[in-house]
Amino acid sequence: MQQQPLLEVKNLKTRFKITGAYVHAVNGISYSLNEGDSLGVVGESGCGKSVGVMSVMRLIPQPPGEIYEGEVLYDGRDLLKLSSEEMRHIRGKEIAMIFQDPMTSLNPVMRIGRQITEALELHMGMDKKQARDRAAELLTMVGIPRAADRLEDYPHQFSGGMRQRVMIAMALSCMPQVLIADEPTTALDVTIQAQIVDLVKKLRDELGMAVIWITHDLGVVARLVKNVAVMYAGFIIERSPVEDLYVHPSHPYTLGLLGSLPRLDSHERERLISIQGAPPDLVDVPQGCPFRPRCPYAIERCVEENPPLLPVSITHESACWVDVTTGRPR
């Protein structure tokens, strides 16, 4: 039963040294991912969700960045200890990533075909002809019509949604075991977002890869992933299977996030429950619980001690000293 997870992140900590002070972006996050799993990482801007996965991919510019603690085990190896040459073989081939902005992630002066075949030749050892055929196949797979003709086109000849499809084709080109999607639909319109979400879902099921989907949108992950981790101030503050998170949100921050979203299917218009204040400055993260200054449930203990993830049920954990259903300490 206890199989070794495909990707295991243990107590990962990343900080940036900016004008003499440390910005604590990621403060000890842990998660694991099995084959074919899907994990949604949800949080607002600056919560460390992107830095977390960039650290896994070792894409943090160092300096000013520094991964100063933790392990990233992939297939038994600690990625943080690999040489940059070894890491180059992991990136793209074993773990691939798609980024938020398809406008800036593609090289504007390189033909689409070449941008895809580059990785195929490098990682898969294909020759030019094989790589080209495979590139056309990949573009067809992600739903680009007349794919073979479009290999000669430049990125500006594609629309935003089509560019994101190209990015996905590139990410899938070497059949990675893990696909990390960092807000891939944020820059796109909702009707195009729906196309992309469906595409990734379909490809995940067909190819059996594990997916980490990073987003600020609790709605998008609802129909896409199996498990959700909610991040705040560089910590994972709640973790649960997707169905349970929306029915029994157990961290005051998650409750607040869900309350601040008006629902398309609601028939009443109650006042939105907004979270007061703003996220903390990550230069001096307050002692105790980072959410305490904004938390309506805060108790004495929250001032001194930062709660670790505590079990709510067998599969559900929340980093809060208070039981939000009763408002009393747990």
């Binding site: 949604g161 909702v190 009707t191 977002q193 729906a194 600020h216 609802a222 398309l264 609601s266 907004s274």
Partner: protein, 340 residues
């Protein structure tokens, strides 16, 4: 020509009783010329807004939704005469603004204000909060000196900022706070009509709710009339009394906030609604979704007939010939589809 007359006739019906309408927009067009070559000759036009008509009642919020490039922001700016319309009428409080110039237009501007999307770009970084919020008071000669100071502090209080902040500069504030400064500036002259152009799009989810709650409170307190422009249909539904859906420079559907979700008639509105995720996996699993093919066509060369015919899942032959006009499918519910 026939269609045009018909449309004017239906519009008149839509506008009764006229005295309740603060804003009347009739056949509004905004075309941008496309210039090419050394001589910069006009080779075509981007029809950003094409024949848009609607009304906004006093104290009402009309939501205007659509995807990027559909012309919703251009509509807002053309109404306020920030971008002069190519054709059409914009009547606010009984005055047609389109041909108004100079001092007369400036007088009207007191009644209509705008809140911009980007709280980082819309505040002058070299001005402090007191100057930013006080500027409209200066420009229109409403208050000066001590009186102005008091008024600015009061405005800051109203939008939930500390009145002591008057001497601070925009960079010292978070996105949500900056948006509050922008709101304070917009309401400084007691306007009756405020265009909110994607006021929450640049903000985080937990902050969005704060700003929307504030806008609602201000509306209650000062009887403001809003045109709320956004791409987020769930937020638009939350704040609006009626919702208009735009596609490629046209309004394709207008209905009250409940009907737009319960009974959308235009196939684009239906697809748009089905594409918006609901934060609830149980409901999500049951929802039927319409995934549109392809992208929005170019507004420089819109499709003949119905503008949605390149992506419409229910198109018929007729849709490639006949351009459907808005018609009343239910009392107060208008859709521009032959089959609505």
């Amino acid at each position: 020509m026939m269609a045009q007359n018909e449309m004017n006739a239906t519009l008149e019906k839509q506008m009764v009783p006229a005295e309740d309408n603060l804003v009347v927009v009739r056949n509004l067009k905004k075309y941008f010329p496309i210039k090419r070559g050394v001589l910069q000759r006009t080779v075509g036009h981007v029809q950003a807004v094409d024949n848009v008509s609607f009304t906004v009642k006093r104290g009402e919020t009309l939501g205007l939704v659509g995807e990027s490039g559909c012309g919703k922001s251009t509509t807002g700016k053309a109404i306020l005469q920030l971008d002069r319309p190519t054709a059409g009428e914009v009547i606010i409080d009984g005055v047609d603004l389109v041909h108004l110039k100079g001092e007369k237009l400036r007088q009207m501007r007191r009644k209509m204000q705008i809140i911009f999307q980007d709280p980082f770009a819309s505040l002058n970084p070299r001005m402090n909060v007191g100057q930013i919020v006080g500027e409209p008071l200066d420009v229109h000669g409403v208050a000066r000196g001590k009186e102005k100071e008091e008024r600015v502090k009061e405005l800051l209080k109203v939008v939930g900022l500390n009145p002591q902040f008057v001497t601070r500069f925009p960079h010292e504030f978070s996105g949500g706070q900056r948006q509050r400064i922008g709101i304070a500036r917009a309401i400084a002259l007691n306007p009756s009509f405020v265009v909110c152009d994607e006021p929450i799009a640049a903000l985080d989810v937990s902050i969005q709710a704060q700003v929307v709650n504030l806008l609602k409170d201000l509306q209650g307190k000062f009887g403001l009339t809003y045109l709320f422009i956004a791409h987020d249909l769930s937020m638009v539904r939350h704040i609006s009394d009626r919702v208009a859906v735009m596609y490629l420079g046209r309004i394709v559907e207008i209905a009250d906030w409940q009907a737009i979700y319960d009974d959308p008639r235009h196939p684009y509105s239906q697809a748009l609604l089905s594409a918006i995720p609901i934060p609830d996996p149980v409901i999500e699993a049951k929802r039927k979704r319409i995934i549109l093919e392809g992208d929005v066509p170019s507004a420089a060369n819109p499709p003949k007939g119905c503008r949605f015919n390149t992506r419409c899942p229910v198109r018929q032959e007729r849709c490639f010939i006949d351009d459907p006009q808005l018609r009343e499918v239910m009392p107060g519910h208008w859709a521009a589809c032959h089959f609505a």
